[in-house]
């Protein structure tokens, strides 16, 4: 029997796409499906998924959990745990429609929750950390249950199949978001487990990723020193945790996080002004194990926007475009032009140079 | 001009320079044949002085103002106008040893194996670019270079 993600490390190639409106105006999932569908050839039907930000304004203060259950027993065990630790404001199946290409779907549930007060106090953690640890705990110890989305006012939708079929399956044309990211997967060795599809998320972080990082075990063993558990053995998981560690826990600005993950070459650091060089040197010295090596292009979604990044020697494709308030990033330019025929500007970001799109001040969640 | 300079700090006293010098000036230029077959025993034109731990190799310094040339009674000892190399024209040399009398380095040896002549370093000028002693010194204690390099 083939081992699934988490039992073994499965490399995969992929297509990614991201669209956002910087004013925070929300739009349906049609464009993102069209964009990712164009890159059909970059996937092989073994995984597709989306992340959407701004979709649950009515529950924006609650953590929205999206969960796969293999069976009812798993659901009972998990809900028991959730009930002990959280107040569940609302729960129910995530609506789906029948799509011929999508089969063997697990049970897919959604919960809007917040941590129970006394549990939170007892844990001496903040809401985010408490929730993150509970999510990691369920994903590590609860067989048959897998939380694949846990942020606020956002959600991930993924499964085994081509991404456009997954989009149709989750009826993403009925959701409205100010930021959409999408992923089409080309794994080389997977039984087709829904949890293994992208995006990978933790709290508000979501990552879609194309590539196979060669620094994986160095990165994994580094983040695991700080309470993370890389259950899926996937790059996206490790990268998500790195972002979480650096940005959320070490309070490092995203621009700086990028200097860690896709660190400038030593030869380039030497050319910097002394103060800047000193800073970059310190970052490379302290966060040497957080350097992501090997080919990757990623789109990171978070509550205030998105960040797209290539590895430092650009071993994977990534194109960006702008039109008015709209910002597009994708593996291929055609995947942008299919939804935005005449962008104001199209460019190819250099290796290690991020494309960061943030919501305008008034639109911030 | 390029000369051979000895760095006695790193001379190991093995005398390979002597051996290879002798071979370079032998008939066959083959080390085993030169030593085992040739009737005229090969003779080095370089001398290693040693009293361990001190040891160094010495050969003709090819003096600017060479006393051996001035003292030579036959005119056999000459300095190359272009090369600066002091050589002994062996068919004119009669082996009077006046050069030995005046060489302050003691760098000229008697070769009485064949024709009785004074033998001295010729920097292997006719054989190789680099003198055999320098080429075969196992510890770079001999350098072939311009003065002051």
């Amino acid at each position: 029997m083939l081992k699934k993600e988490g039992q073994i490390r499965i490399p995969s190639g992929c297509a990614i796409s991201g669209i956002m409106n910087r004013k925070g105006e929300r739009f349906s999932g049609e464009d993102i499906i069209a964009s990712i569908a164009l890159m059909h050839e970059r996937s092989n039907g073994l995984g597709g998924g989306f992340a959407a930000y701004g979709i649950y304004p009515e529950y924006k203060d609650l953590f929205a959990l999206h969960v796969f259950y293999d069976d009812v027993e798993a659901k009972i065990r998990a809900e028991d745990f959730l009930n002990t630790h959280f107040d569940i404001e609302s729960s129910g199946k995530i609506p789906t429609t029948k799509v011929s290409a999508i089969t063997k779907s697990p049970m897919i549930w959604r919960y809007f929750i917040k941590p129970r007060k006394f549990k939170l106090i007892e844990s001496e953690l903040n809401e985010e950390e408490f929730t993150a640890r509970c999510v990691i705990k369920i994903n590590t110890y609860f067989d048959g249950a897998f939380i694949f989305s846990s942020g606020k006012n956002m959600g991930a939708f993924k499964g085994v199949g081509y991404p456009e079929d997954i989009g149709e399956f989750y009826m993403l044309d009925t959701y409205k978001a100010h930021l959409w990211t999408a992923h089409g997967r080309f794994p080389t060795n997977t039984p087709g487990w829904w949890g293994g599809a992208h995006p990978f998320t933790l709290l508000d972080w979501s990552i879609v990723h194309n590539g196979e990082i060669s620094s994986y075990d160095a990165n994994r063993r580094y983040v695991e020193m700080y309470g993370y558990k890389c259950n899926l053995q996937t790059d996206t998981e490790a990268i998500t945790y790195l972002f979480d560690l650096l940005n959320r826990k070490h309070h490092m600005p995203l621009e700086t996080v990028v200097k860690v993950l896709a660190a400038p070459m030593w030869q380039d650091i030497e050319k910097e002004a002394p103060e800047q060089a000193k800073k970059l040197k310190a970052l490379r010295a302290v966060y040497a194990s957080a350097l992501i090596n090997g080919p990757f292009s990623i789109i990171l979604g978070f509550k205030n926007g998105m960040l797209a990044l290539n590895d430092r020697i650009k071993l994977r494709s990534l194109v960006a475009a702008e039109k008015g308030e709209m910002l597009y990033v994708a593996s291929e330019e055609s995947a942008i032009r299919v939804v935005c025929q005449n962008p104001d500007k199209v460019w190819t970001p250099k290796g290690g140079e991020p494309v960061i799109g943030l919501l305008n001040e008034e639109a911030k969640v | 001009m390029k000369r051979v300079y000895a760095n006695e700090t790193y001379c190991v006293g093995c005398k390979l320079c002597e051996i290879h010098c002798a071979v370079a000036h032998s008939e066959s230029k083959d080390i085993i044949k030169a030593y085992k077959k040739e009737k005229i025993k090969p003779m080095p034109r370089i001398v290693v002085e040693d009293d361990m731990p001190i040891s160094f190799a010495l050969q003709c310094r090819h003096c600017e103002d060479a006393p051996c040339i001035k003292a030579c009674i036959t005119g056999a000892m000459q300095k190359g106008e272009q090369t600066g190399i002091v050589t002994n024209e062996e068919n004119r040399c009669v082996g009077c040893w006046t050069c030995i009398l005046v060489c302050p380095f003691g760098a000229i040896v008697r070769n009485e194996q064949g024709k009785k002549v004074a033998a001295k370093c010729d920097l292997c000028a006719e054989i190789e670019d680099t003198p055999a002693c320098v080429k075969n010194c196992p510890n770079e204690a001999l350098k072939y270079e311009e003065e002051g390099e």
Binding site: N219, H250, A285, A288, P295 | -
Partner: protein, 501 residues
């Protein structure tokens, strides 16, 4: 005189067709194996003293010499081997402990050779180091948990002292005294030339070498020879040597005859007196004492020099390493049981300590479990023989490696294991002037630098093959390793999968 039971270990074979009686061998053998007989016009050999160092073989201009294992056999016995019996003869003769030089030669498993490296194929590209930057720079030193910035983006973290290496290879401690001044000079020059560090060992530092300070680690060992404030400040880092892989738990002994004028001045001991390093530091009987010494040294150097603590890899290395990290060391050095030395009791050398590969894997894992691996650097030593060993060490979790035996081999050592006799024919482990001058630092520093460059090239090739362009991404990246022919337990300790998994 009674009969000596010990027989020659080697035979010198002289091809008489090639021997020209030039006597180079006679002049070059410090063990006086060769003699020239004028009457016979022949060179003879008395093999009793031959240590098989190859000096004569390599110096012979006609390649007339060869050295073979002596053909004398004992009756075959898998238990009572020739060496087991010879050692008994020797001890029965002398009543003394057996001494040996260099590292443990016994056929214990070599884990480096039981691990295989990965390479990229299709799913991610390998990187060509000739076309793309390939970074081997390593920064050693204590690291803060995080780097912080103020609102203006200025760094607010104060970085402890760090050492930059151009490549993850350093020259390990070899004292002036145990090795010659020329050998010492060669290491210093090579370190400077290749952007790495050499280590003074416990013999102090001759003032002549202060100019290499940026590339020097000054060692403080139990004998405290040549240790003073200027010395501590003369190098880039300080290393406290608790133990060494070749002789864990044992002190050192430099015989008085090696303590000449310069060694005496450098070590600050009288000429001709034995230099004895006690087994323990007599001011360190526990971990908190170590902390005091670490901080005394930091005080003496104004907190500008990282302090390394070197231990021999022993059974509970992980716990010890954790203690060292928490005691404030910036760099932990572990020396495996194959580490070399100038002189060690044979029994200790061959039976004490554990393989560095296992110690490294266990220590790295333990420090990670404690969440402190990133705070200290981890250096390993103890028979790193080639660039693949370096790559495997880094993949297991080392920041860098020390090379000692490999370095002396590059210098000309032929592993005759007779360092303690002081008659090293290659001018390395000797103070005899005529032998020391055989080692020309100009040549030998180039040889050492060549070795470092060659290994670095190879490391880059292997990194590129793995799709990695910075050594940082290899450190602790155990997925790049697969075991071959290892037991479940060994795989578990090494933290790697078996090949094929």
């Amino acid at each position: 005189m009674s009969l000596n039971f010990n027989v020659p270990e080697f035979m010198v074979e002289r091809n008489e067709d090639r021997c020209i009686q030039c006597e180079v061998c006679v002049r070059q053998c410090a063990n006086e194996v060769h003699t020239y007989d004028e009457e016979d016009n022949k060179v003879y050999a008395d093999e009793t003293n031959c240590v098989n160092c190859h000096r004569c073989v390599l110096m012979c201009p006609t390649r007339a010499l060869s050295i073979k294992k002596h053909s004398l056999e004992f009756r075959e016995n898998a238990n009572w081997t020739a060496s087991a019996m010879n050692e008994i003869y020797k001890q029965a003769q002398t009543g003394g402990i057996l001494l040996s030089g260099m590292g443990n030669p016994k056929p214990y498993p070599i884990y480096w050779d039981r691990m295989l490296l990965n390479a990229s194929q299709v799913t991610n590209p390998s990187i060509d180091p000739l076309r793309e930057p390939m970074e081997t720079k390593v920064i050693l030193g204590r690291k803060p948990e995080k780097v912080t910035f103020d609102e203006d983006g200025n760094m607010t973290t104060k970085m402890p002292p760090q050492i930059e290496l151009s490549t993850p290879i350093l020259f390990s401690a070899m004292s002036f005294g145990s090795i010659s001044k020329n050998a010492h000079a060669s290491l210093a020059r090579a370190a400077r030339e290749t952007g790495t560090l050499y280590n003074t060992g416990e013999g102090g530092l001759n003032k002549e070498f202060y100019e290499f300070g940026k590339n020097t680690i000054v060692q403080v060992a139990s004998g405290r020879f040549g240790v003073h404030k200027e010395y501590l400040n003369a190098g880039a880092a300080i290393e406290i040597k608790i133990g060494q892989g070749a002789k864990p738990g044992i002190g050192g002994h430099l015989p008085g005859e090696k303590v000449g004028e310069e060694v005496s001045a450098t070590r600050m001991i009288p000429e001709g007196s034995d230099a004895i390093s006690p087994a323990p530091h007599h001011d360190i009987y526990s971990i908190e004492d170590l902390r005091q010494l670490i901080y005394s040294l930091k005080e003496a150097t104004d907190y500008k020099k990282p302090v390394f603590v070197k231990i021999a890899a022993v059974h509970n290395a992980p716990a010890i390493a954790s203690g060292i990290a928490r005691a404030g060391a910036d760099v932990i050095v572990m020396d495996g049981y194959r580490g070399g030395t100038g002189a060690a009791p044979t029994r200790v050398r061959d039976n004490v300590g554990i393989p560095i590969e296992l110690a490294l894997a266990a220590v790295d894992q333990r420090l990670r479990e404690e969440g402190i691996r990133n705070e200290v650097s981890l250096l390993v030593a103890g028979s790193v023989r080639n660039s693949a060993d370096v790559v495997k060490a880094v993949a297991l979790g080392a920041d860098a490696v020390y090379i000692g035996s490999a370095a002396v081999i590059a210098m000309g050592c032929h592993m005759c294991q007779k360092c303690y006799t002081g008659k090293c024919n290659w001018g390395i482990a000797t103070q005899r002037e005529d032998l020391v001058k055989r080692l020309n630092p100009e040549i030998v520093s180039t040889r050492l630098a060549n070795l470092i460059r060659a290994w670095t090239h190879e490391i880059k090739e292997m990194l590129g093959g793995m799709g990695i362009n910075a050594i940082d991404s290899l450190r602790g990246n155990r997925l790049m390793l697969r075991g071959i022919g290892l037991s479940e337990k060994e795989l578990e300790i090494l933290g790697i999968n078996h090949a094929g998994e």
